[in-house]
Symmetry: D2
Subunit: 405 residues, 4 copies
Amino acid sequence: MSERNIRVEPVTGDAVEDQEVEIVERKGLGHPDSICDGIAEHVSQALANAYLETVGKVLHFNTDETQLVAGNSAPAYGGGDVVDPIYILVVGRATKYYACEETGEEYIIPAESIALRAAREYLAENFEDLDLETDVIVDVKLGEGSGDLQNVFGEDGAEVPMANDTSFGVGHAPLSETEQIVYNTERRLVEEFDGDYLGTDIKVMGKREGDQIDVTVAAAMVDEHLTDIDAYQAAVAEVEAFVADLATSYTDREVEVYVNTADNIEKEAVYLTTTGTSAEQGDDGSVGRGNRANGLITPNRSMSMEATSGKNPVNHIGKIYNLLSTRIAAAVYDEVDGVREVRIRLLSQIGQPIDNPHVADASLVTEDGVEVGDVEAEVAAIVDRELADVTSVTEDVIDGKLPTF
Amino acid sequence: MSERNIRVEPVTGDAVEDQEVEIVERKGLGHPDSICDGIAEHVSQALANAYLETVGKVLHFNTDETQLVAGNSAPAYGGGDVVDPIYILVVGRATKYYACEETGEEYIIPAESIALRAAREYLAENFEDLDLETDVIVDVKLGEGSGDLQNVFGEDGAEVPMANDTSFGVGHAPLSETEQIVYNTERRLVEEFDGDYLGTDIKVMGKREGDQIDVTVAAAMVDEHLTDIDAYQAAVAEVEAFVADLATSYTDREVEVYVNTADNIEKEAVYLTTTGTSAEQGDDGSVGRGNRANGLITPNRSMSMEATSGKNPVNHIGKIYNLLSTRIAAAVYDEVDGVREVRIRLLSQIGQPIDNPHVADASLVTEDGVEVGDVEAEVAAIVDRELADVTSVTEDVIDGKLPTF
Amino acid sequence: MSERNIRVEPVTGDAVEDQEVEIVERKGLGHPDSICDGIAEHVSQALANAYLETVGKVLHFNTDETQLVAGNSAPAYGGGDVVDPIYILVVGRATKYYACEETGEEYIIPAESIALRAAREYLAENFEDLDLETDVIVDVKLGEGSGDLQNVFGEDGAEVPMANDTSFGVGHAPLSETEQIVYNTERRLVEEFDGDYLGTDIKVMGKREGDQIDVTVAAAMVDEHLTDIDAYQAAVAEVEAFVADLATSYTDREVEVYVNTADNIEKEAVYLTTTGTSAEQGDDGSVGRGNRANGLITPNRSMSMEATSGKNPVNHIGKIYNLLSTRIAAAVYDEVDGVREVRIRLLSQIGQPIDNPHVADASLVTEDGVEVGDVEAEVAAIVDRELADVTSVTEDVIDGKLPTF
Amino acid sequence: MSERNIRVEPVTGDAVEDQEVEIVERKGLGHPDSICDGIAEHVSQALANAYLETVGKVLHFNTDETQLVAGNSAPAYGGGDVVDPIYILVVGRATKYYACEETGEEYIIPAESIALRAAREYLAENFEDLDLETDVIVDVKLGEGSGDLQNVFGEDGAEVPMANDTSFGVGHAPLSETEQIVYNTERRLVEEFDGDYLGTDIKVMGKREGDQIDVTVAAAMVDEHLTDIDAYQAAVAEVEAFVADLATSYTDREVEVYVNTADNIEKEAVYLTTTGTSAEQGDDGSVGRGNRANGLITPNRSMSMEATSGKNPVNHIGKIYNLLSTRIAAAVYDEVDGVREVRIRLLSQIGQPIDNPHVADASLVTEDGVEVGDVEAEVAAIVDRELADVTSVTEDVIDGKLPTF
């Protein structure tokens, strides 16, 4: 066992599943805030990989500030137009010139060009109804950061960096039923209706009161695939049925599903779009304003304000600890019998290696008949093991294996 | 008593003051994220007032998306330069043309010009070391929103609007000792050192473990007021002493104060700036990424992800409920004897008047010897009274009386 | 014969070919100013065609203001990088909403999206070494113009619009020997070296003193096709030989060719680029700053300051008269025996049909033995004929058949 | 006498004053193109002075590319509003970091901040009806140029730089009657009506046919100073009378004056503005698209395409030769008896000192009874003297004494 400061304690309060009211939200892939999160993270991956390939280590950067300004559109059954393109400004810091102290070699890293390509690539891959030649302008402003914050992550990936800040990460497991429904509703809708009338901007709100779960879905429909208001209504009904069915896989509680409740069918004021996202008209977006690192917004649980997407995965302690605590929580829940719910909090200590947090704190709700003391050692060992493996979080982020929103 | 759905319950868990570890953060007025919050909210006030004056009611707008791109600077003792200006993009939606259905009168509201003036005014009033003619570029992109979302707040202010979304607000009272120290450290430093060497970008992090409180301050120093590194060190020491002294007004616990711990005095790598904010070099910012509506980031408490600043104060339910729940919590704590801690949560119900939330939920920690049942009626009456007065939140926001970050 | 005010006169002065010193310049397709001209004109064509297709007539627009901000690049033999992308801002006015007074039908014309597509299309088609996903950001700001200036060019194309301004166009024929060499050097190099080491940014300056012609070429080389400085020098020599040979087709005078004279081979400071244009590093550009409507800059001849590219081809009298006068001059020279040189000037008259200029003025240098009076009637008839056919200029511009720079 | 290659010849053709048709135009100070010229030149002066003060010599820069995107306004008698601000993008190249090879000293020159201040200062000083806090957004993009083009103009100002390009400048004297009227109409109107109802966007077109001169003025009126359409009409009449009177100082020919002929009084569609410039609505602008270096557009005279404003006054040969040739022409006309008209052309020679042009060419129209041979020596001496003093052009430009548009 290491010297790490790991605490295992009972939760102070009820398991989320036992609380009377629970609220959960997920902003889908095509929500303006999520578009920004996705671009920021994709740009971050591209830069990290470019640094590794060129210089052999990840240099200083942060690209967690993409701003989206909504366009203007004229959707129409059968296919409308984006009138004024969406404007996306990719903002951040990146090292563009690097002189290696040891070898004297000088490197130019075309950071803005890399960011531009990555942002456009991400849009092309994820939003098939968005025409990159007409519907969106991608602009980039990447300044230089402070020179002192360079060279932090070696090629071998083995070096553990020092914490650059006092920061905090939090993770939970397992997802509650409501959380599972909300999360998977968006994920499954995207998969299932790929290429069809359903856009990518799907916002899911789950509200549980006691044993009654309401799932409210706001889903952008794509005009090209719908001939008229009847087709639109049929599509809404189909989505509603799909979600109602899907929910039964996750709960035995009563579930009500509502789709596009703000529609006014009589006035034909419905949620019809040309590109599948409300970014085409009226909804701006930016990074870190939507889902937390586990893909959800969960006011019933403690959350970090940190924008995880776009941050440097090597030295940004807030990003790493949010992802790592979520990973640890999952491991504890999966591996330890008798745990009903676990929350992991990691608090960094400036100037110390990031695998050695100031405190790592596991709060448990145990199954009936199980005491925290019964599983404490097991839990602590998992926390310890995962902390020791902290750099694998960085690696997985760089490889795009770890979602951040 | 009204028909409102108000619940009063014991907190599930410990009072924050009793928890073992507590973390609190405040990003000061001049932090890049706070600059964006402040501009967004000031623009929002200016627009609301312009609508009231011109049209007699607040029309649809949202200006909660300001993006700041850091500049580039060359600070120097005695006075340095901003080399590349900070770029601030004010983003949002606003109604620019309005035809009154009843009177047929048409109005043009110069929304972008109003926003530009408000943003620059805010900067001029709050950041005296920032030269608006050289150090910052303010750009504006305000699109039109959806036409359906217009005319919502009458001149009389009496009409209660309908909730436009399922949203959630949360407020707490009282501030814990650590919270008080963190909040007031920034507030008092700004007042005390106004016009002197201390910049406006003061980030305060409080960490309490048991009865030991660490206050870590990162404070931008202004080069013009400092002659050399010795003067800088003296200034840091002065700030340290000031904060240490200030903390004693709020706690009897042990307090350690750290100021600008990232400095390297030998290498003269210190936190010296020309404008008093890190926005001049290397730190981007945007709205809703920093302080919550009560001015703090408090991972120990439940928080809303909602960006309160810049939102329309009439119809944006997230903004209103965050501010209102904070106000209710304060009222409950102030007026009801025997309450140690109160958390108010308000959950909206789409299509219902906002003074009638789906649920209003008060969780209490009571003093020893007091039961929740003893004060339940009193608490419920306050919640009911404040909900009935919900439009005063809107009025106070429009009048600039209610801080949002 | 019409009532048109047509004058035919002898030139006051020498034929250009007889003047002692002659200076001629052509900025090639990939020169930053020409890139802007090309985009502006291509956007103009796209908008004109969109209006015709949607509304049945060309509505008000002007897109003659594209601004290019140079990027930053790191060229390298074998292939370098654009570090900071080129930024191109397409500026202008366009009608986005149109309500037909007769039919009451309403149209939305997605002008900005059309402009964005046209600009990117133009870049893709003409600059193969420019990677649109990494090397260039295309931004668009198209405001609305004045509503009164709408509906000017019917579907049938037959209506002759009124002149909206007092303006002036001028054209010349034939090209002098030096002009032919300069013009064709750029044109032939682009064709001949397509896909090879020669970029599109080829600036040709011709200077004739008496019977000595110096042709100075500044030609951007593309790094990807060149392995080293020797290959670069061989390429320069090849271009030099090609141009020297080409010049002999146009003149019997002595010709000296200079290519990339600013190179410093020893310091390896040569004109190497990654994209084939100096826009990648250090050279900004905008519309109307380079070639006149005949593709040349000719200080020996009278020139119009009018930026022809991007202007509305229906109602912008400066654009139409520059193109028409050039066309008339060519017709006169081709069709009338005994004419050595002709200059056509057209001066508009506000409020009159554009086929009826205030004055159309043909200045001639005739062959030895030919008097102006001998050909006057023939020349006037051609001028009259071409004026009557003025709308064909508009049609040809819309169809992209008439180069404007 | 020097070795300079100076030629003095008779003009080939008529004096402009004797030509049958003459066209002259001046775009006033507040025309969108002139606004850009003025900003570009003012920024250029500010940078040149900053380099001199900081480094002791002018470093490489060029700021000749300002782009103006028109705003949107709602003028109204008594005072209207700018609805969407004018957007001005200052574009160019500037040296931001400089390491002196001799002393090893390093300099940071805050070029973008200097440009921002200069641009705003210029607007504030010249356009009193433009509110800098609401009506205009000034943005700046100054890239770095090529490092090789640095350190060219010493503190002493005595060193004569080498020509960096084959370029060409042309100047004329005296102004014809029509030119004098056009030029002074704008200049005197600005002075006379300063602070009153007349805006700064005054476009004057002069057309002379034989002895009939038409002066057409398009003058933006400022709404704040006018109560209604009658006041507007009275203002137009007053301007008309003023110009008619003014014209008599310059000519005995017949003069007709037309002011705001595009107005439609019945429909109240008149040239009313809030800021005094058409940039507030519908008219974009950029550098080098309007007046030549002598303040006029004169198709009857040979003109250079070169954008003079904003260019580096030390090493940009096109700028220097346009200003110098104008100065020489004036000196010849003033000092030499018997000269009716003079045109000076200067052609540079790459790599040679700029006081030693490839050819300096003076074309004269002499008074009756005077032969070119009679004044040749005198003219050549003046040309020689002024060439020797070429650096005074640079000095005067830097000091803001020499208008460029």
